[in-house]
Symmetry: C2
Subunit: 217 residues, 2 copies
DNA sequence: TCATGTGAAGCAGTTCACAGCG
DNA sequence: CGCTGTGAACTGCTTCACATGA
């Protein structure tokens, strides 16, 4: 495994996107692509693609472009997707169970191996081949399943203590879907994903006077 | 309604977060807060809070801080949350129906008024008090319900054409949960939200050598 | 006195433009 | 010739530090 260069979150996120674009091209049988054609096709910026790619190596052929399969493979490896990541979902309400099925149909890189919930009603139930365990048992469940990544899908007021539990259980990568901003504990990678924030962002532009209901074309 | 100042997406997103923090303080009966105490409490930056707030007005009292209720009210108004936004969800699979229930329990600012799906199996079913309509009927459904905001929760290959349909139906704000980067049509506000990207971001750091399974405390 | 509001400094991310190479 | 890889310019965001005012 080569040394991991410093890559910003922004670049990292775009690499994920590039990878998906390349997979699409692969399926279409496209073998070579230039940064410009990639950009046009998928609403990206060509100079940004080149900058992002050179941040971890040189893969292109001048005058030609990039080999689709090779580049996809390199990004796949860089992102660490060649090993399977085991997920534990905390909170199996609507969102939690949706995330469970959403993350499952993916490729082989991610697998939901455990789910816990504080509601005794849910404990013991089987949701998409995963048996829901009691919230108190996170540590045991994590140890038994070897989960690496935690998904927090509980109400806002429970999120902080769930994070503590996950970290105590040895989890170092966390995705928080609760509508609170959790701080990153030392040595833990945490990303807050608040869908209401996204909603409010797009809603904001509706009040713009110049966008007010023009006669539709 | 005062003129809408230019506010970057980053600032806008943070304002959503500040609003939630202020609501929490309100519930606790806190009446006044300084940028510094807000920052400490919720893992934010105090100078950033001040900068963000002054981008649309002056609300603080020097030497004291901000009045929690007033500031919350001002942000609420700025974000346009004092009017109800009507959502239409396209794609009522696992993710779509989870989003439907997730966005519903919110406050009064957002309401799911319509849902469509291409699968005849789902059409006609009632999911959380919303009857699922046929995908071909988006335009009619949008017109009848007065939906303003579109939520795309369909597979990647269908997303682009769904966007076209929504725009043709007069929708100007869209949240895309399909794992493709859609371009923003003229006059439309679109935000791509790809959960796999978030997963891959936190997963990336697991391969870091220095983070490799230290004995847990 | 204390915390806001703000210019100025610092930093990061993006775009430009072209040298270099297949 | 065409496209990559890349320094340099540029743009925008964040942090700093302090004058200002309740």
């Amino acid at each position: 495994m080569p040394d991991k260069p410093d890559i910003s979150s922004l670049t990292l996120n775009r690499l994920s996107v590039y990878l998906r674009c390349l997979r699409t091209l692969e399926e279409e049988g496209v073998e070579t692509v230039s940064s410009q054609s990639l950009a046009r096709r998928f609403h990206l910026s060509s100079s940004q693609i080149r900058k992002d790619l050179t941040s971890f190596g040189e893969f292109g052929v001048r005058g030609v472009g990039y080999d689709v399969a090779t580049l996809a493979q390199r990004i796949h490896e860089l992102l660490g997707l060649d090993v399977e990541h085991r997920l534990v979902i905390v909170g199996m309400g609507h969102l939690g169970s949706a995330l469970a099925s959403y993350f499952r149909f993916n490729d082989r890189s991610f697998r939901v191996v455990a789910a816990v919930d504080a509601d005794p009603e849910l404990v013991g139930r089987e949701i998409g081949s995963i048996r829901v365990a009691a919230a108190d048992d996170v540590a045991r469940v994590v140890a038994e399943t070897g989960a690496h990544i935690g998904i927090i899908a509980v109400p806002a007021d429970a999120a902080a203590s769930v994070l503590d539990d996950l970290v105590a259980a040895g989890i170092r990568s966390v995705l928080n879907f609760a509508p609170v901003t959790l701080g990153e504990p030392e040595g833990v990678r945490l990303r807050n994903v608040d869908m209401r924030v996204f909603l409010e962002e797009v809603a904001f532009f509706l009040q713009d006077p110049e966008v007010s209901l023009a006669p539709s074309d």
